[in-house]
Symmetry: C2
């Protein structure tokens, strides 16, 4: 490198980072009950995007609860703070030019509205995994509904804590009547139309 | 998309993300006093890496203090938590395959050791911006040393709070005797040797 190389004072911008990648950054925010199928859809969607050479990142309980959010419990205040951090990290990741998929129950209108505000309307895609409580409880993949019904888990969404369903999500997915591949195809089609990718 | 397309249960791994990008993810952790030149070096380094088609991200007070860490003040406990979150977000960013540059005073051995542990030895590069207190105070780009000497800012690193200099950093930069372009060239050379990039 030449000694007289001049560095510009301006930092690398989000749009510059994204441009290099040839993609529009976005946050695909999945919301739905425990057992609704968020993780399954998140993983399948990430694989489909990577297959299209998109640069993605998945935020879920697995990579946040033991790390960034390990100081948080399950009180109301801690749940709000958890979603706030998910939103703020998503914002950093779209600043880095990535397509982010988040998979959290995020049961309250207020918190999803906060996330939308932090992330920005232009990049926010709300996907409601609209699986009924009855179906989620029937699946009960982690045995959590059983424990919640037995009173062993408190403040469990759908049992003794509310799930406020999105009234106007960008995409609504029914995991009972629609094949996974069809759901993923619909999300990809939506992203293509909205972001040209 | 075909209806019978099969999704693998395995998630996209960090190494897969990085491989797509053709780079080894790493965290270049800059440490040094206020006014040492961390931001200047961080920005120049990011520009140099982007010029080499690397996919980078810069974490600094500008994008964390108003966002993810806006609930934190400047008490000892809050400073520790601030560095913990920087480390955890850096970990997520390297999981996304990026080369991360962090620019925080990070004055304590203990906190830098924690960051190294969270991030992992293999990806952690400690760069000590070794500018003397006298020189930083002479520059005083934000007028903070003046205020700290006047007692208007408490717990200011170098004045009434310690800066524990790294004893064995991977790279040591002297911003007085070395040109910026030379410092950047040395960092690039180090990354090239260690990570082959």
């Amino acid at each position: 490198m030449s000694k007289d190389l001049v560095f510009h004072a301006t930092a690398i911008s989000a749009s510059a980072r994204a441009q290099v990648k040839g993609q529009k950054p976005a946050v695909i925010w999945l919301t739905g009950l425990s057992g609704a199928g968020k993780s399954t859809i998140a993983n399948a969607l990430e694989q489909a995007l990577v297959a299209k050479a998109r640069h993605t990142f998945l935020l879920d309980g697995d990579n946040l609860r033991m790390g960034l959010c390990k100081d948080l419990g399950f009180t109301d205040a801690d749940r709000v703070e958890n979603i706030r951090r998910v939103a703020e990290v998503s914002k950093l990741l779209i600043d880095a030019g990535l397509i982010v998929i988040t998979a959290f129950i995020s049961p309250f209108h207020r918190d999803r509205a906060m996330a939308r505000e932090v992330i920005g309307n232009d990049a926010f895609v709300e996907v409601f995994i609209d699986t009924s409580l009855e179906e989620c409880e029937r699946r009960d993949p982690k045995g959590l509904y059983g424990k919640a019904r037995a009173g062993q888990i408190k403040n469990f969404t759908g049992i003794d804590s509310a799930y406020e369903a999105p009234t106007d999500p960008h995409i609504r997915i029914n995991t009972v009547t629609e094949e996974l591949s069809e759901s993923i195809a619909r999300v990809l089609e939506y992203l293509d139309k909205r972001f040209g990718q």
